[in-house]
Amino acid sequence: MSKNSRTRASLYGTATVATLALGLTACGGGSDGGSASAGTWDKNATVNIGSLYEPQNLDNTAGGGQGVTEALNGNVYEGLFKLTDDGKVEKLLAQNHEVSKDGLTYTFTLRDGVKFHSGKELTSADVKYSLEKVLAKDSQSARKSNLEVVKDIATPDAKTVKVTLSKKSISFVYNLSYVWIINSEAENLKTTEDGTGPYKLAKWTRGSALSLDRFAGYWGDAAANKKAVYHYYKDASALNNALLTNAVDVVTSEQSPDALEQFKSNKNYKVNDGDSTTKLLLAFNDKAKPFTDVKVRQAVSAAIDDKKLLESVWGGYGKLIGSMVPPTDPWYEDLTDVNAYDVTKAKKLLDEAGYAKGFSFTLDTPNYDPHPTAATFIKSQLAKVGITVKINTITPDEWYTKVYKNRDFTATLQEHVNDRDLVWYGNPDFYWGYDDKQVTQWVEQAEEASTTEEQTELLKKVNRKTAEDAASDWLYLYPQIVVASSKLSGYPLNGLNSQFYAYDIKKKG
């Protein structure tokens, strides 16, 4: 779940950003599959995928991190449901599902003829085991808290699973798309696997590569390539060099615009600008002075020219946002006008808050791009309204301890990767300490809503309220850039929540 380990600082990339999610359908933008060049393609090709995010281990309930989602989700492991690249939830291992009238009982019928890589047939016991693994005491799953509404899991027969919830949860099925169905008899899941996906793990060489082989016994359409190899790099330059020298065919996610020029001007490559859900936040500690005062937060938000910042970090890429919600979330509204760049207004707000002469605060800044750049920019912008920023550069590990665990900060910069993560503002215990009873209530009601319309309506209210309160300052939305050899087609463009399905990738011979 981490998009933190980004550039040079990846030596220290450990802190992770997760999400809480709501709702069943998401109207995503972008279409499945890049570079639709048809023609002959090699069914037995090896696709080399370059990435900066190596799994820490192979278990997504034991701190595998963002890398394990990228490499294994959908490729090696499958859930009852899957989240498509454009954000839709589709049935996968579930043939069917029924919800009781009170919304508390879900009955899933499993697909027939599904086999694990070890050869064992999928049964309801495996589903029960997999769900319990996420809910276990030692589970590090980012979905654990969302799924804690599960009260009981029954397996009336080998193909049926009946889950009872303690209260309604409209995003239950969405959350299930993150639960890998694992053979209940499998062992050593941190270093090996036993899933049902179109690939089985061939070999993981830590620090270097992870290769997947097409699984002959797959229940569905076979993968469009014979072998998918994820090559891991710690450094974006090394990764781009690998693409330039054809050592890899595709880069899952470019983290700076620096190298893009040379790919854009070369017909052997295709640069795809997809939809991202990653937001760069100037997160205030809403429980620490002076950011307890709404006016101070609004003033800071209004004093920073986000457009100029985005331009200097990303060149022509990326989008401006006025709140935590990216355009691909169902409850998106364009709120860029709220607390927009306006120095005069910022000064006036500061005056009203009693800080006419400004103040000074420390900005805890993760030591990898774009944070230091953004921090420098913010420092020079806020100087114009009399606010002095002290930049304190820290490693992701320090960030996690100091900011996330100890809440020992005044303001910080952080990227939040996932979709539908607005709902964190409903949790007063979250690190930024935003505490609004009304918002908390709306978020709870939205989760217990009966229809998605009702849920969307409530979350729109949350969106507007947090934006007006300047709960944080949302600086910009990252672009999601996949660069690939023009021989390739069928690769994911949006890499939603770090997923990267390899099975549709076709390589011309």
């Binding site: 040079r8 040379q262 060149g315 920019f377 550069t393």
Partner: protein, 293 residues
Amino acid sequence: MTLPAAPLKETEPSKETTPVSRRRRSATLLAGCSLTALIALLALVSLVWLPFDTDDTSGGRLAGPGDGHLLGTDKLGRDLLTQLMTGARIAVQAGLGSVAIAALVGVTLGVLAAFAQGWLDDTLAAFLDILIAFPTLLLAMLVVAARSATLGSAILAIGLAQSAVVARLVRILVKRVLARDYITAARTSGTSWPRTVAAHILPNIWPTLVVNLALQFGLAVLAEAGLSYLGLGAPPPNASWGRMLQEAQATFTTAPAGALAPGILLVVLVVGVNLVADGLRDTLDPATRRRRT
């Protein structure tokens, strides 16, 4: 190891004549001083004047020379010359700071170790050998893990790592001096050992020591650049040359200025300091003076 056959037919080299070697010596020293002074000047000027503000990103991404930007801009639109000048300051700071630590800790340890006898002596010597074999980097990683990546951490780590090298050298030098008769005389006549160190030992070892510290300065500058390259040195937005090179790596082919200039300045500084060390060695070191002139 084999000997090259060809160049061995000449007669044995005669001793260099004094005027020639003296001229060459001063040439070395002069060249070294000029190169070092060039960088020192950049660093000093950066304290009082810079072409642009260090945080000024108004220049446009990776612009070429022009618009007041003598060397163009970096990927954030900051003036390259400004960055290079503040980088010079950081490089000089790193060199001086590390050498100061290395001198202080190294000389103290080395002198103490030199006075040790028997198994303690052997153990200390072996311990220093082991420490030297572990690279600065490892120490730097540990220091950074303990107290975060800052220029101070990098300097501390480099300085400590170099202390081992200096201590090892000082130990050998002091032992050599201790073996001389007048020291034995001084010690038997009841002179306290701190006094012995101050009056007899330090004056005897300082020429070699100074030369070595000058070499350590160059190594420290390189080490800081390496650490910054790995993200373990001065944190961004500080313009360490090592970090500038790391950042310019992605645009090496499209905007080579940013990937070449910091490297060239690094080489200039380190070559300069090494030449100074060579020049000093020939001027100061009594051993080489005796032998080669």
